[in-house]
């Protein structure tokens, strides 16, 4: 994980939200890295801190109430948290672009779509407005929307089309890193497939790295080289996709796989992970998953488990379940 050629290297990142009822530990001592050209799946339940991590990378954590309290976000070797607002502005959109979850609300309703794309182009390239608008039309064609619709407003497009526009905005400046925050959650299943296919294709065309935030393991299997499983603000497992699917190391990951319904067996109820996500203002001590963990031993409630490499590139933050696999790494 300490390769110097990493595109993104997040070290010990903590982001807290200070609200009336206490401090929400949205992201807690998170470590994550991404090599150039890599596709990382970022998986976890709602509230695990995936979006907050993404906003942290973008420097867009709403403040107040949010605050990055600790850590480093190294992007191309430079700490984004030490950048000035002005420097961040040129990185945002230019080098790191983000696709947000809900396309219905992500576009400005009173501005035509070509202008919304052109705005991005104008900000990061030295072009005239005319050229930017021309580029906007090209981008629309690239995502499969006819040029003639460039001067339409967002309300004239369907949900899937809007997400295409959002993708066009994100990719307009050929970003080095693209963060997609559940880009298909709000869409129909058929449209989901189209949008994923489009992202896959465009990603190859402009050769960008991708962080795909999702809670759909199917999407991960299809799109990602590596997976980070997040639980209660921490990465609990980090592995190449194949390794993770073949032998998930963390009990939480195991629980996630078990909760996918099996088409062949005739079962009445879903196998869910027992218990609920912990209250983020009052996280359990030690391993945050231990109250729900079927394998928990006494030590789990005391010590925060370190990430252990159980096979090359496969890290698990669980000493109990990680052990049996240790021989794989040796």
């Amino acid at each position: 994980m300490e390769d110097k050629k990493l595109l993104l290297d997040i070290q010990d990142l903590s982001i807290h939200y200070v609200v009336e009822s206490g401090t929400v530990h949205a992201v807690e001592h998170l470590n994550l890295s991404l090599a150039p050209g890599e596709n990382l799946g970022f998986v976890g339940e709602t509230g695990a801190g995936k979006t907050t991590t993404a906003l942290g990378i973008m420097g867009l954590v709403p403040n107040p109430p949010g605050k990055v309290v600790n850590g480093k976000i190294l992007f191309e070797g430079e700490d984004l948290l030490k950048k000035t607002e002005e420097q961040m502005r040129s990185i945002r959109g230019g080098k790191i672009a983000m696709i947000f979850q809900d396309p219905m609300t992500s576009l400005n309703p009173v501005i035509t779509v070509d202008k919304q794309i052109a705005e991005m182009v104008l900000l990061h390239n030295n072009v005239t407005e005319q050229q930017a608008l021309e580029r906007a039309e090209e981008m629309l064609e690239l995502v499969g929307i006819k040029r003639e619709r460039a001067r339409d407003f967002p309300h004239q497009f369907s949900g899937g089309m809007k997400q295409r526009v959002v993708i066009a905005i994100a990719l307009a400046c050929n970003p080095t890193l693209l963060i997609a925050d559940e880009p298909t959650t709000a869409l129909d299943v058929t449209i989901q497939a189209q949008v994923l296919e489009l992202m896959h294709e465009l990603r190859r065309k402009i050769n960008t790295s991708l962080i795909m935030i999702t809670h759909d393991l199917g999407i991960v299997a299809e799109m990602c080289d590596k997976v980070a499983i997040m639980y209660a603000g921490k990465v609990v497992e980090y592995a190449p996709t194949e390794a993770l699917f073949n032998h998930p190391g963390h009990p939480y990951t195991e629980g996630l796989f078990n909760s996918i319904p099996d088409l062949d067996s005739d079962e009445e109820e879903l196998k869910v992970i027992q218990g609920l996500m912990p209250d983020p203002t009052n996280l359990p001590s030690g391993c945050t998953f231990h109250p729900r963990c079927p394998y928990a031993v006494e030590a789990c409630s005391k010590d925060v488990p370190p990430m252990v490499e159980i096979e090359p590139g496969h890290f698990v933050a669980c000493p109990v379940r990680g052990k049996p696999y240790l021989h794989l790494g040796k």
Binding site: L60, R92, G93, F100, S106, V110, L123, H155, I169
Partner: protein, 308 residues
């Protein structure tokens, strides 16, 4: 768009018929005899009856109303009992003062209310925000006549900077406009603030920031356009009200506007003048509403799509 405007103006007709009928009925059942009011207590019973016959006040209700509508269609809405001048002339001579007062107040409300609202919203919970909100609350709850009198006492009587009455010079317009604008400023400020607070939390604002856009452009270009939509409604409603005449402000500053004219007419049971005044207010209000809807379409493309 043109079709839409034409249709809206056509809709004005039933509104006017309804309004005139209601006002006519109300005046008919209100106690008080216009003949007595006009001729005075000393007039003989014969003179009173002659006046009533001449003005058709002894005819049945529907006959009176029918005659009024018939004449109104031909453009004649009668003569004032008091001055014997045509009602339209009376209203037209009071109109300029009213519209000037209303427009000036609205300009003040917009120029102060919108910027204050925006700054309050983007610096929510700051000192500026708190102070502005306190002023807005004071402005909203302060009676107009009280503010007017205070301003006169201070600027006209004490300092002798500005005239206390009339409406013929710019200097004379300052105090009445401020008096009348106070509440509108407060309303527009609060509306802009709350609307802006809602808009800056929208996803598309985050999208704009994620593009690397400057915060000032995010506010001006992305937030303001959306935040002003509800403000347009409020400004329109306020302006409509003000066009109907500001009775209190006009009385305090002795401005010969529509508000004062109407109150006088009601006091004297000057039926044609009341009737005409109400019709004028209905037309003014409807036209302002139409204007607001057109501004709406201009600001919000989603609404424009419905006007075709």
């Amino acid at each position: 768009m043109f079709k839409y405007i034409a249709r809206r103006i056509l809709f004005l007709l039933p509104v006017l018929v309804g309004v005139s009928f209601i006002v006519f009925s109300l005046l008919y059942i209100t106690p008080g005899d216009p003949a007595r009011m006009v001729l005075g207590d000393q007039a003989t019973e014969e003179a009173v009856q002659e006046f009533r016959n001449k003005e058709g006040l002894n005819d049945p209700f529907l006959v009176q109303y029918g005659r009024y509508v018939y004449k109104a269609i031909q453009g004649d809405i009668g003569r004032s009992y008091m001055t014997r001048r045509p009602v339209s002339d009376e209203i037209l001579s009071a109109f300029p003062s009213t519209i000037k007062l209303a427009a000036l107040s609205m300009v003040i409300a917009i120029l102060l209310g919108i910027p204050f609202g925006i700054i309050s919203a983007i610096r929510q919970y700051s000192l500026f925000d708190s102070v502005t909100m306190i002023f807005a609350m004071v402005g909203l709850s302060m009676p107009v006549f009280w503010l007017g009198i205070l301003l006169i006492l201070f600027f006209s009587v004490q300092l002798r900077w500005l005239p206390s009455s009339g409406f013929d010079s710019l200097a004379a317009m300052i105090l009445p406009s401020i008096t009348l604008a106070a509440q509108s400023v407060a309303i527009v400020t609060r509306m802009t603030r709350s609307s802006m607070l809602e808009v800056v939390r929208q996803d598309y604002i985050r999208t704009a920031r994620a593009k690397g856009q400057k915060e000032s452009v995010v506010i001006w270009r992305h937030a303001l356009g959306n935040a002003l939509i509800p403000v347009v409604t409020v400004v329109g409603l306020q302006f409509g009200h003000l066009l109907g005449g500001a009775v209190l402000t006009e009385s305090i500053f002795s401005i010969p506007g529509v508000g004062r004219l109407m109150v006088e007419a009601i006091k004297m049971r000057d039926y044609p003048l009341v009737q005409g005044g109400v019709l004028y207010i209905a037309i003014a209000f409807s036209l302002v509403n139409l204007l607001v809807d057109l501004v709406y379409a201009w600001v919000d493309p989603r609404i424009k799509a419905q006007y075709k």
